[in-house]
């Protein structure tokens, strides 16, 4: 695996969220001067492939390929969301507006990624991200799930797929040329 890419991706995301934090800070100063309500602290939970790519503990042994989209749960106001979309676009990334449709297992945990004054960025834990993919996007992630199971690094993955009514046998279907 290319660990440098993981660091580059993390650096890119750090830059985006640092700039976002800065933009909110400037806007809040303006609002304070005007005496209007300031923007509350925002929370972002990154899902999907991006969460795996930013998670160094798994990105070193799973082959990860991702498009330029970011699935995430955003708890932020209109100003912050617009600014985030703009910042992502300048870096060739896109926020997936269907992120609210992403199914996340109930027992999913979050991992802190970045903490700023105005923005808190978290990742969904890797195993839950894989369970989510196995249940709701198995076609796109067939090889990734097989690799994750074969790695033996996610001892509860198979059980969690079964518990959440996933079709484990789907991953047995070889792709015949």
């Amino acid at each position: 695996m290319n660990c440098l890419i993981i660091l580059v991706m993390k650096k890119l995301m750090r830059k985006i969220f640092t700039d976002l934090n800065q933009a909110v800070e400037l806007e809040n100063r303006k609002r304070l001067k005007k005496g209007t309500l300031i923007i509350p602290k925002s929370e972002i939970i990154i899902y999907g492939q991006m969460s795996l790519m930013l998670n160094e503990s798994v990105a070193t042994f799973l082959n990860l390929i991702q498009t330029a989209d970011m699935d995430a749960q955003l708890r932020m106001d209109y100003f912050t969301k617009n600014k985030l979309l703009e910042l992502l676009k300048t870096k060739g990334l896109v926020y997936d507006d269907d992120s609210h449709l992403v199914w996340i297992p109930k027992d999913a945990k979050t991992i802190d990624l970045f903490q700023f004054k105005n923005i808190e960025v978290k990742l969904i834990d890797a195993e839950s991200a894989l369970v989510s993919k196995a249940i709701h996007a198995p076609q796109k992630n067939k090889q990734l799930i097989r690799q994750a199971i074969a790695s033996g690094k996610f001892p509860a993955l198979v059980d969690r797929i079964i518990e959440n009514n996933g079709n484990l046998e789907y991953f047995l279907e070889g792709d015949i040329e």
Partner: protein, 191 residues
């Protein structure tokens, strides 16, 4: 006893499935070494359509055979299928292939350009999944996305209008297109 039997059967079944998955994971690993996969990935990653943590030789100047790219998308990484129409649209000179695949790609491009919501897919990938990648900013920063690309349009002006335009160009240092675009934008604002 009956419950114990059910439990044992389920456990054995699970173990058998995991063993089979392990074997298939080995086959997947071999496919990831296939030159067809490495070539299209080297191109798509170099251009910025895909990101990966794999050590793949980047090849932004590669010439891609569409059948090979489709193979990689169908049997190794479905995200190749997702971004292939956008990559083809932006870098047509880098691709060659059979008439059927090209026709399919052109249909998708037309559909997106005309903002047609026609039900169409590319090897099972819906147009909704394919569309966003026509509008992203790429790594080279040079190739324009579909929404930023200039459209060629010709007009016939009076000679004095052309003279004024040239003189405005000399005075402002802007191109004739920039001058006309700003005048149109200004008028648009007033309306």
């Amino acid at each position: 006893m009956e419950i114990l039997n059910i439990f044992l059967r389920a456990t054995l079944n699970k173990i058998a499935i995991i063993e089979k998955i392990n074997k298939l994971a080995q086959q997947d690993k071999q496919r990831r070494q296939d030159p067809r996969y490495l070539k299209i990935m080297g191109f798509l990653v170099a251009k910025g359509f895909l990101h990966t943590n794999l050590k793949i030789p980047l090849n932004p100047n590669a010439h891609i055979n569409l059948e090979d790219a489709v193979w990689a998308g169908r049997f190794v990484e479905p995200r190749v299928i997702e971004v292939l129409p956008a990559a083809y649209e932006r870098f047509k000179k880098h691709f060659s292939g059979d008439a059927a695949t090209i026709e399919k790609l052109e249909q998708i491009i037309d559909c997106i350009q005309q903002q047609d919501n026609h039900e169409i897919d590319f090897y099972g990938m819906s147009i909704d999944k394919i569309k966003p990648w026509f509008f992203i900013r790429l790594r080279d920063g040079r190739s324009k996305s579909l929404d930023n690309r200039k459209v060629s349009k010709s007009f016939r002006f009076k000679p004095e209008t052309v003279d004024i335009l040239k003189s405005l160009k000399d005075q402002t240092g802007k191109s004739e297109t920039e001058i006309l675009e700003s005048l149109v934008a200004e008028t648009g604002m007033k309306l």
